[in-house]
Amino acid sequence: MGQDDENIRWARDAAKGDQAAFAILVRRNQSQLRGFLMRMTKGDSALADDLAQETFLEAFRKIRQFGKGSFFGWLCSIAYSRFLMERRKKRPEAMDEDTERTLEDDAPEAERTTMAKLDLERAMAQLPDVQRAALTLSFALGMTNEEAAAAMDIPVGTLKSHIHRGRETLQTILTGWQSQQKYARMA
């Protein structure tokens, strides 16, 4: 992956104490990382930004520990563990309440996106965290199974089973909504 080769080059410079190189790394990866965390927090952009900032600061502190492999994958592994820590701190129900409110608040903006994508985001929000992370890393972020499993710190077989279960659940949810829409149009 060309983008990641460049990331690794900047990461090497940053490890030597070059703060400008680290700033480039942040600028290059912030959109994807914040997008990933936005999906993980079910659209809570403030929490996603806080987690992204904490992730980059931890990466800054541990940049010398970054070895081989995908730099973005390494960032995602930090971000995912930060997300899980936050999830443990906050009651899961409280996070879900926040999410429902956020999804409603964001509705006018979401209307601008395609209905299918909006449906996907709503359906994704109903999945368990681990399945949402597995599907996002593997599909939307285009990671290989090995990279996604490393980012989530789980075996590849477990990742595959989360992907499989997640897709099945999504299919059920989306099909159900499709049927409901058909009935609504007929009525």
Binding site: V26, Q30, F56, F60
Partner: protein, 115 residues
């Protein structure tokens, strides 16, 4: 890029939907905020290292047998050196240094909390 899984063909539409890239998030000063925090962290780290080194030097100064050293090195001047070291002003100076370091650390924490 779509991930290769065993049952890709079961839900072709869903896979295409899932493979759509995530919505682009505008920077809007995010990089700047992260870098400001990173610089603060680097400055705090330097301050802590400086403080720890000063503290280590202060503690080590009690372990050095100054009287013996001054006797051997200074010879006839040892009395003068020994007198100097046993002056209470010197220890007051050390406590003042420690106090200043503590104050700097406290102010740094205060600034961090305020930020």
């Amino acid at each position: 890029m779509m991930n290769e899984t065993d049952d890709n063909m079961a839900f072709p539409e869903l896979d295409a939907l899932l493979s759509q890239p995530l919505t682009t998030v505008a920077d809007n000063g995010f990089t700047l905020r992260v870098m400001m925090e990173a610089e603060k962290h680097a400055a705090r780290r330097k301050l802590m290292i400086g403080g720890l080194l000063s503290l280590a030097a202060f503690i080590l100064s009690f372990l050095v047998p100054w009287a013996k050293l001054t006797d051997q090195i200074m010879g006839q001047f040892s009395g003068t050196a020994h007198q100097m070291i046993s002056q209470p002003q010197l220890y007051m100076g050390l406590w003042i240094t420690l106090g200043i370091l503590g104050l700097v650390w406290y102010l740094d924490r205060l600034a961090t909390v305020r930020d």
